[in-house]
């Protein structure tokens, strides 16, 4: 149950609230569900802190404010033009109301193994700008995700922004999520890919990441290596798919068995097979 609600309009006003034990409430789509019990919980809203919501470009980097909503991001020109893999992931996230309320920072901080933006951000080599009363630090997303619901966020610290270097314009950006339905579905498995090729079609860099297949969303170095230096064809993709199945550690739950997830995880990469 939500008790006291604070709405600070600056980071300076936020820090003492966090020090007093208030929970950070960004979009609330996770927190309001988690806090339905009888225990009272004070929250500090981030929505009044303008600097957290901006989306901007500079120094060759794109900076996505942690409070930008999924819907805002999914339709933002910078995201659509340069970060297609993220736009695709955002379009599968929740439903229109959840995309309108939920935020990128919230999806990251929740650190669900099934968080829809996480494989896409990993494939983009995203870094997080963390802020606290002590100042700011930058952490790669891959180092931030420690386990289901566990992150490197320190007490009194928030995610301020996500910083991404846009892939080369010609790079292939791909995202696919397997859900048990087409909206409001928690991922059974997901795959994000950012693959750069040279003029001859040889893969110069492959970045692959999966969701719902391990305790955290994660990159797949062996599968990436299996593609690098190869052309994207049935043979190379089949080898990389085998490496994905080798690398993942899925679990069985109400949505799918571990065996299905492992099989499907590799299959997702085969979607990139060139068609005659």
């Amino acid at each position: 149950m939500i008790g006291a609600v604070y709405c600070p309009t600056s980071l300076e006003a936020l820090w003492p609230l966090l020090a007093d034990g208030a929970h950070v409430l960004a979009g609330g789509t996770d927190l309001l569900v988690a806090k339905r019990g009888p225990a009272s919980c004070a929250v500090a809203l981030l929505e009044g802190i303008g600097e957290l919501a901006g989306i901007s470009e500079g120094d060759g980097l794109i900076r996505l404010g942690a409070m930008a909503s999924h819907a805002t991001l999914a339709r933002h020109p910078l995201v659509r033009q340069h970060l297609a893999v993220l736009a695709l992931a955002l379009e599968t996230l929740g439903s229109p109301p959840i995309r309108a309320m939920g935020t990128l920072g919230g999806n990251i901080a929740t650190a669900s193994p099934a968080g829809d933006t996480l494989p896409a951000l990993l494939a983009l080599n995203a870094r997080l700008e963390l802020a606290s009363a002590k100042g700011r630090r930058v952490v790669p997303l891959a180092d931030f995700l420690l386990g289901p619901g566990r992150t490197a966020l320190a007490a009194g610290e928030i995610i301020a922004a996500v910083v991404v270097a846009p892939p080369a314009p010609a790079a292939l950006q791909h995202f696919e999520k397997i859900g048990r339905r087409d909206a409001l579905a928690i991922a059974v498995a997901s795959l994000a890919a950012v693959i750069a090729t040279d003029a001859a079609g040889t893969v110069t860099e492959a970045r692959l990441a999966v969701g719902s297949l391990a305790p955290t969303a994660r990159r797949l170095p062996a599968a990436e290596a299996a593609l690098t230096g190869q052309r994207l064809n049935r043979e190379s993709l089949t080898r990389a798919a085998a490496a994905i199945r080798e690398a993942v550690s899925p679990m069985t739950d109400v949505r799918a068995s571990a065996a299905y997830r492992r099989q499907a995880a590799g299959n997702l990469l085969l979607r990139l097979t060139p068609q005659p």
Binding site: M1, G37, P38, S95, I178, R180, R181, D182, A183, L184, A185, I186, V188, T238, A241, V254, R255, A256, S257, Y260, Q263, A264, G266, N267, L268, L270, R271, Q275
Partner: protein, 759 residues
């Protein structure tokens, strides 16, 4: 303007669209108390201790009630009274209630419920219906004379075992259909108070307000005539609000609230835990035919998981047996059914009421037979479709009407069928497409042994408009709106001249429940009778004002009664102002006809067997299977329906689409993940129903039909559409991927295995 092309805006559309309609859930009197229940959380156990002291001491708590506080029998149930209002000694499923709390606020209620200390001594549970019938299984009701066998029935026609032995070809299968939750939008809820006059006044989201009084009175030792139940529009019911949900608990709370209003609302998780469910069923069946595909014999057994309480399990199983032969001509049948008590959630009424289960089995058998004979499944069905005047699988000859053949023919003429080959060829990469077509049927009404009755009251107001006193709740299916349309046509008035009074046992006349595809038929007939009486009355009273000695020549038109001989007219407003109230009322009643010479079979079924009226349909599903993930997408769905004459095309289409969507959910999405009596999918993040994105447009084809005894020629059709998608999707998946579906829901994993994977 009449007939299916007429557009009648639903009488409830505007108020619901703007949020003005007041559902039961919207009734929260100022200062009302809140009631809630502590549930067992264990599937089968003895209650060894129940310490409510801390709950009672919680600030804001008004009362904490246990079994000892329940007057009366403490047993609820529609027919068979075996379900405790509050459990005192034993709990039989995880949702069983053990204590009831009344508090000043929802917060105090939640806190007090969490402070109830219940101690249980676990008993061995029984979770598989087949195992429940073993001699050494633990008993759910040790006092029940037949152990865990709640109900048994046999229907027979001809000599099936002998006929089967002579068949050129036989096919057999074991088919499973799952438990299903109704997932109505409006959760079970109600508000109640004991008035100073001693009346228990209740507003409840219920499908059966008149019967609720007796169920509550029996359970709590009250006089049913001191109970008033009002049933506003429901936000969905689908059978899940037929039978007590909150009623007895809420009434008990109101008896202990010192005359204050009490409100009870189950949350979604509580509804998954404690609400009624469609029975999971296992059906072992064998179908025999001649080499040319002519059906000869059907045998088999059906086993239903009743959960721990009877509800209408036996009656539901009876309907399953009655429909087990499908809409097909089968000379010899022998089918047994059993319902087993288990410690799973409570089985109860659900749109399709047993028919869904056995329809899946017979349609799957028809497909198996088609495969065996190398026949086209649609052609085999057409060959064997039951014609007018032919006896069905239990030997009843239903009222004549358009049947499966006409319905199937309509679907086979749709482009989704005629152009299927091209559609399949155009499948995108990694996609396999398939199309399936199956038949469906659903009886209307309660059937023999239980009068399917309704009484209607119609009032001319002082202002010259009309008031319809509806007696059968509208849970969203549109019957109330149909009543306005019917009365407006009958009395030659504009629909705006009619106001609806929703069911209220104080002001409306008694009627059966909103169920069994019966509401529009039975209440509609009663209402039309009241309209005829009103028309005669208006002519006779207008004749006085118009000095007309031949009332029969007077003409009713919107707001007026006119004498064509003189051109003189009297406004209805004037008649309304002149007549005393007693003279402004007209009432009539109707009881649905039953099978006159029932066959001597199904002797175990005293209530609701057999049925005389059937609606039919056919369903086409076109599926796309993704080879990489096994995901199934429904590309197209076409449903034809024969349900007498169509009063409202929009109304029929909405019912067909809603029913098909619920059938699609059962076939592809809704997996309760039941394990040891616990639903693994006990909330809406895990129990998945299809969203708008998961459903194709559903085309509805109307088959020309007429039911001469129906109001304006119609028959009920609220259920029939749910039966198509399961078997049609199964057939389509065989077409697409070679998967032999024997069990619903179908999962992506089933398909990935069937396809062998690309590796």
């Amino acid at each position: 303007m009449t007939g299916p092309d007429a557009v009648f805006p639903r009488a409830d559309a505007l108020a619901k669209a703007v949020g003005a309609e007041r559902y039961s859930a919207d009734v929260t009197p100022p200062g009302c108390l809140w009631a809630g229940v502590r549930r067992a959380g264990v599937a089968h156990a003895l209650i060894t201790g129940l310490d409510v002291a801390a709950a009672r001491a919680t600030p804001g708590v008004v009362a904490v009630l246990t079994r000892r506080d329940v007057p009366g029998t403490n047993r609820q149930g529609i027919v068979h009274k075996d379900q405790p209002v509050l459990c005192g000694e034993r709990v039989r499923h995880r949702g069983d209630p053990v204590a009831l709390v009344l508090a000043e606020s929802r917060e105090a209620l939640a806190l007090a419920l969490s402070r109830i200390d219940a101690a249980f001594s676990p008993l061995p549970g029984v979770f598989e219906p087949a195992a429940a019938l073993d001699r050494d299984a633990p008993y759910v009701h040790p006092e029940h004379p037949d152990g865990n066998l709640l109900a048994y029935g046999l229907v027979e026609k001809g000599d099936a075992p002998t006929a089967l032995a002579d068949c050129a070809v036989t096919v057999s299968g074991e088919y499973h259909t799952p438990m299903q939750d109704h997932v109505f939008l409006e959760l079970p809820n109600g508000t109640a108070r004991l008035t100073p006059a001693g009346v228990l006044d209740m507003v409840v989201s219920t499908q059966a307000p008149f019967r609720d009084r007796f169920e509550i009175a029996h359970a709590l030792g009250l006089n049913p005539w001191t109970i008033r139940v009002r049933a506003p529009y429901l936000g969905g019911g689908f059978g899940g609000k037929d039978g007590a949900t909150v009623q007895c608990l809420l009434a008990l709370a109101a008896l202990n609230a010192g005359g204050r209003w009490v409100k009870m609302v189950w949350d979604r998780e509580e509804t998954f835990l404690a609400g009624y469910k469609r029975h999971a069923a296992v059906m072992r069946v064998t179908l025999g035919a001649d080499a040319d595909g002519t059906l000869r014999a059907l045998t088999g057994s059906l086993l239903f998981d009743a959960g721990p309480y009877a509800h209408l399990s036996g009656e539901i199983m009876a309907l399953a047996l009655e429909h087990a032969g499908g809409p097909y001509r089968i000379p010899h049948t022998r089918l047994e059914g059993s319902c087993a008590y288990t410690n799973n959630p409570v089985g109860g009424a659900f749109r399709g009421f047993g028919v869904l289960q056995s329809s899946f089995a017979i349609e799957r058998l028809m497909d198996a037979l088609a495969t065996r004979l190398g026949r086209d499944p649609a052609g085999l069905r057409l060959q064997n479709a039951l014609g007018r005047g032919e006896p069905n699988a239990i030997g009843v000859t239903p009222e004549p009407g358009a049947g499966a053949a006409e319905c199937l023919t309509a679907v086979l003429a749709h482009p989704a069928w005629t152009e299927r080959a091209a559609w399949k060829r155009q499948a995108p990469p990694f996609t396999r497409r398939g199309v399936g077509v199956t038949c469906m049927q659903n009886a209307m009404g309660y059937g023999r042994g239980l009068p399917d009755a309704a009484a209607a009251k119609l009032e001319l107001t002082k202002q010259g408009t009309f008031r319809i006193y509806n007696s059968v709740p509208d849970m969203g299916q549109g019957n109330a709106s149909a009543f306005v349309t019917m009365a407006a046509q009958a009395l030659h008035q504009s629909p705006e001249a009619f106001a609806l009074i929703q069911p209220d046992t104080r002001h409306c006349l008694p009627a059966g429940s909103s169920s069994a595809s019966r509401t529009t038929f039975t209440f509609g007939n009663a209402l039309l009778g009241a309209c005829r009486a009103m028309e005669a009355k208006l002519r006779a009273r207008a004749a006085l004002a118009l000095l007309c000695d031949d009332p029969a020549r007077l003409i009713l038109s919107p707001g007026l009664v006119t004498d064509p001989a003189t051109g003189a007219a009297v406004p209805l407003a004037r008649l309304g102002a002149l007549l005393p109230r007693d003279d402004r009322l007209c009432v009539d009643q109707f009881v649905m006809a039953v099978v006159e010479n029932p066959p001597d079979t199904g002797r175990q079924f005293k209530l609701g067997f057999p049925h005389r009226f059937y609606s039919h349909g056919a369903c086409l599903c076109a599926v796309e299977v993704d080879e990489l993930t096994g995901r199934v997408r429904l590309g197209r769905c076409v449903v034809s329906v024969a349900c007498g004459r169509v009063l409202s095309l929009e109304g029929v289409t909405q019912q067909v689409q809603g029913a098909a969507a619920q059938g699609i959910g059962l076939a592809l999405f809704e997996d309760p993940a039941l394990e040891n009596g616990c639903m693994g999918a006990g909330d809406l993040s895990r129990y998945l129903i299809p969203t708008a994105l998961d459903l194709p447009d559903i085309d509805c084809l109307i088959v020309a039909d007429d039911e001469p005894t129906g109001p304006l020629g119609l028959r009920g059709m609220g259920e029939v559409g749910i039966h198509g998608p399961g078997p049609a999707i199964a057939q389509a998946l065989f077409d697409a991927a070679g998967l032999h579906v024997t069990r619903l829901p179908v999962t992506p994993e089933d398909l990935l295995s069937a396809l062998g994977g690309p590796e």
